[in-house]
Amino acid sequence: MTAITKKPENPIAHLTPEDVEQLGIELDAIRQDVLDDRGERDAAYIRRVVHVQRRLELASRAVLLGSALPPLWVLGTVGLSVAKILENMEIGHNVMHGQWDWMRDPKIHSTTWEWDNASTAEGWKHAHNEIHHTYTNIVGKDNDLGYGIMRVDEDQRWHPMHLGQPLWNFVNACFFEYGIAAYDLELGRNLRVPKEKRSAEFKANLSKTLRKIRKQATKDYVVNPALAVPFGAFLPTLAANVTANLVRNVWSHSVIMCGHFPEGVETFEKRAIPDNETRGEWYLRQMLGSANISGSKAMHVMTGNLSHQIEHHLFPDLPSNRYAEIAPRVKALFEKYDLNYHSAPLPQQVYSAWHKVVRLSLPNGWLATTTAKNLPTQAKLLWAMTTKGPKVRRAAQARLQQQARKQAQAA
């Protein structure tokens, strides 16, 4: 997607500044209604989810002691996968957002929660809550746009490295928790700094993350399999833990890709964001920069209600069980202000996000200008762009875009 301000048809051009402020007021009213009504029902909900998750995890680990028997392996692995997904998505993510801080229960609080993931709660809260949620979809500011390893927006400059991004994305999906940990540390940027010049803060965070990873790995790959040794199930239990982590990683990666990457989600130019963005303008950016997943109640819970990504980005601190309830009111506001409420079933959104990853692995305009007939010349051009340095790349890129534009005008 091209940053909103560079598009021929700006989807917010019809809104006056007064409209945007009025929109902000109406969204604030929705938020306030939930705050006024928030109470015992919500507290009971999160306690029940935590209760169910803990029991499910303990029961699954108990079942896995007998995982030398294949049916028990399947049962235990499914249970553990679901437990890990619930822990990360509906509980961890949302608790660390402070959605349940109002309960004043130190056991379910953003300042005390630690999650079943390679990244530390502290590092994740900074990268996610502070950077991503504040600067959502601003190209060059929100590192969630491709996590620094992928090109997911036309405005991010193409580099030959991006040809491999479908593969990176797949690998990132499989090892997503480590990807998040590296991302929270801004590992790439920091590793480029000479060792002796790295900040003390980075070093401290790195050692915290490594300690966390060691503890996590010891639990899943050493202690729990070892506990199954008396039942002759060391390897099956190890395999079950590996599988559960893989399932959790791929699932959470898919859900999170759906939140901001599907085709049609808007991005923003850094210089187009005013220094003192108003509440209304911020809301508007969240509305256009997020996509929902439609589906069943169970699906919403398993995504940590990130299926209501739009509602979540508007109100990141409202209890997750409320997103489904306010969704119709939010959607009505989209209609009232003639904006696109981006929502589709999971397979469609996952396909759309992957489509974008593949499409943008190629230079802008390349796919559009390629036909069966000119494939050899196009391939040659791509080869040149890949191997012949930045000058050739820029020239070829300019030509490709020009051709694509002409083609579009002709059509």
Binding site: R104, S110, T134
Partner: protein, 377 residues
Amino acid sequence: MSIAVPSHHTRGSRGFSLRQSLRRVAEAAVTPLELGDVLDVFHPLRRGREGLQGRIVAVTAETAESATILIKPGRDWAGHVPGQYVRIGVDVDGVRLWRTYSLTHGPRADRCISITVKAIPGGVVSNHLVHAVRVGTMVQLEQAEGEFVLPQPLPHKLLLVTAGSGITPVIGMLRNLFSRRVPPDVDIVLVHVNQCADTAMFRDELRAHGAAGRITLIERYDDVHGVLDVSDLPTLVPDLDERLAYGCGPAGLLDALEAHHAARGLALTTERFRTVLVEPGDGGTVTFADGREIEADGATPILDAAETAGVLMPSGCRMGICMGCVIPLKQGAVRDLRNGAVTVAVPGETDPAGVPIQTCISAAAGACHIDEGARSR
């Protein structure tokens, strides 16, 4: 310099270290949860739990507006002396609120503890406990505290003056004394003041003690006798000067009683029930853990005001979404600048560790104490 420990010294503690190792393995198996979080699933009242809890086992109405809550405390409950109070954290409409109540039984054979709560008009916690709380609910507890206890050995003559819910620590003392196999040799006069007979807690129980001759009960009702004038006490209790005196009730009565006893050169022990009296204002003095004080107006986030004054504060998005700036408010009131909601922290009433607030969207609503260093500790 380290001191070498001969190896045979450690041998004796092998059982201990085996337990330690098992514990370490169990901790490694459940991380990032703490072992306690897992054990809580099975036994929330176990010994050694971090943070004492209790389970409500019975709720008995005392009057139309008061009830006794019987609580089974966790194994770590260290016991109490009758007359002491307990701080209790109750979830009301999903929010954990802390209050202090006198324990209304002496130590009981079933190890349960009880509090008797009078529903104050507008009182969030007291109304919840009297009218809404259900048996089986978990509550948070702190260990018993308080100096309002009888001396040992007991004096021969006692005067107890109570008004309203001021009877609650005293009923604990009386129940304890008279549950003993050999009744204590102490002559007790209880002057018990209430608005009317219907609202008097433990009225029948006290009358039974009176009828059995265990205490001399002087009931005073405002609607019958008028409001008690402490200068009438010598008339009501002729041997007043010979009695060790204890008083518990509203501040007005206790102030008068203290002046009265001081004038006669008599000793008096009192227990005052504090009520939450934080009137949210507009702006105020913010005091930090490092001792610094700043004046903050009612429209500036505490975060901004603090940083302007050079206080090092944790911060994040500065728009109320990331929770990167949450620190405890130890005392005082703040107002949420987004919707005007007021959050109040009162030592001894709200959470002992303070009430967490987002400083980036909270302005001072009166004098407040905040602990800006809490996150880094």
